[in-house]
């Protein structure tokens, strides 16, 4: 690639949206976007194969900010680490708060700080696992950066994707964010312990999820009281 082309690509990375691309580089912007998505998918396939080759069950958790992804992982780790060797990869813009919380329950953790990137991608995961002996693990969880938009652009090569929202986000949160529900296998509606207090229409949230993706398994949980955590583990195949 010539220096000029590399400069163009650098600029495209900054532009990031095809709408903002100048006409003379619009085609290059689109091509680059397509190539990035394709590379991510190929890498995700490769990751999944290495998980399967090592008999590892793998899950990635996406969901709204503060919906309870880490709180659920704390409960899951508490139950699973007695029997399984568990690795948890935590994605956050900055800090090691989530990894430290989960580590208390005897899971090995790796924190990725994504900085200005709003989702993990397969490359991040690949960089980690190529440095690890996968024979040391039975189950791998990946907690994505909290948001309901960006993670839909990147699959990570896990067996199942789990989407977590909570009833504090309001009953419209599911229908307003269909992309991640479409591509997930399990939808968790968390903080169900607050249902009476908030009066959120949980039945609507469940119906919306099923409407968007008839294949999706929907479960209501409380990471606070532990309600339905065992059922969630069952859905995950434990």
């Amino acid at each position: 690639m010539s220096d000029k082309e590399e400069r163009e690509i650098s600029r495209i990375k900054e532009v990031e949206s095809t709408n903002l691309a100048r006409d003379d580089i619009r085609e290059l912007v689109i091509e680059t976007k397509k190539a990035v998505e394709k590379d991510n998918d190929l890498l995700a396939n490769k990751i999944h194969r290495s998980f399967l080759d090592n008999n590892i069950k793998s899950f990635d958790i996406v969901g709204a900010i503060g919906a309870g992804k880490t709180a659920l992982l704390e409960k899951i780790a508490e139950k699973l680490t007695a029997k399984f060797r568990m690795l948890v990869i935590c994605g956050d813009i900055t800090t090691r708060v989530d990894a430290d919380r989960i580590e208390k329950y005897n899971a090995e953790t790796i924190q990725i700080n994504t900085g200005r990137e709003c989702a993990l991608n397969a490359y991040h995961i690949h960089q980690i696992i190529k440095n690890k002996d996968l024979q040391n693990y039975d189950v791998i969880f990946i907690e994505n950066v909290g948001n309901l938009i960006c993670p839909s652009e990147f699959v990570l090569g896990t067996d199942k994707r789990i989407i977590v929202v909570s009833i504090t986000e309001g009953e419209w949160v599911v229908e307003k964010h269909p992309m991640l529900f479409k591509m997930s296998d399990i939808a968790v509606i968390n903080k169900i312990d607050l249902k009476e207090r908030l009066g959120t229409n949980v039945e609507k949230m469940i119906a919306d999820a099923k409407n968007i993706n008839p294949e999706i398994e929907v479960i209501t949980t409380s990471a606070k009281t532990g309600e339905n955590i065992d059922k969630l583990l069952e859905l995950m195949g434990f």
Binding site: S10, G115, I128
Partner: protein, 139 residues
């Protein structure tokens, strides 16, 4: 950590010894012990995959991916679009924009004033204003 770093510095001070040394083992020993320390750099919000250990006064540009297994010495400069993994960079180093380093060591006070480099399994030493002037020794 200091122990491995000192040994590695001794080896690369003698470029003829690099190939016959146990430098790869020393790097792995260092990475196994490496703590995460990323709260002390100067710059925007790069991407870090832990463990990454930054000494004081490291400058980091935009769209940078550091880690896993990266040690960066004091006062070193990491410009835009750089990607580094499994690599040791000693003090006062300046690398170029869009460098990709994997399993490398950059000797202290090195300064590379050109863009775009993709390098693996090598020691990089000295000063270079062009890619063709770069002194690199594979291991």
């Amino acid at each position: 950590m200091k122990e491995e770093l000192t040994k590695i510095e001794e080896i690369i001070a003698n470029p003829n010894e690099i190939k016959i040394s146990n430098i790869q083992e020393l790097m792995e020993a260092l990475f196994a012990k490496l703590k995460n320390r990323v709260d002390n750099y100067i710059g925007d919000y790069p991407t870090f995959i832990e463990p990454v250990y930054l000494e004081e006064n490291v400058k980091i540009g935009d769209d940078v991916l550091l880690g896993p297994n990266v040690y960066i010495g004091a006062n070193s400069e990491i410009p835009n679009y750089v990607e580094i993994s499994n690599t040791i960079i000693f003090d006062n180093v300046k690398i170029g924009e869009n460098f990709k380093l994997e399993n490398c060591i950059v000797a202290k006070n090195s300064s590379f004033n050109f863009k775009n480099l993709n390098m693996k399994n090598s020691v990089l030493i000295g000063a270079a204003n062009l890619k063709t002037e770069l002194q690199n020794i594979g291991f």
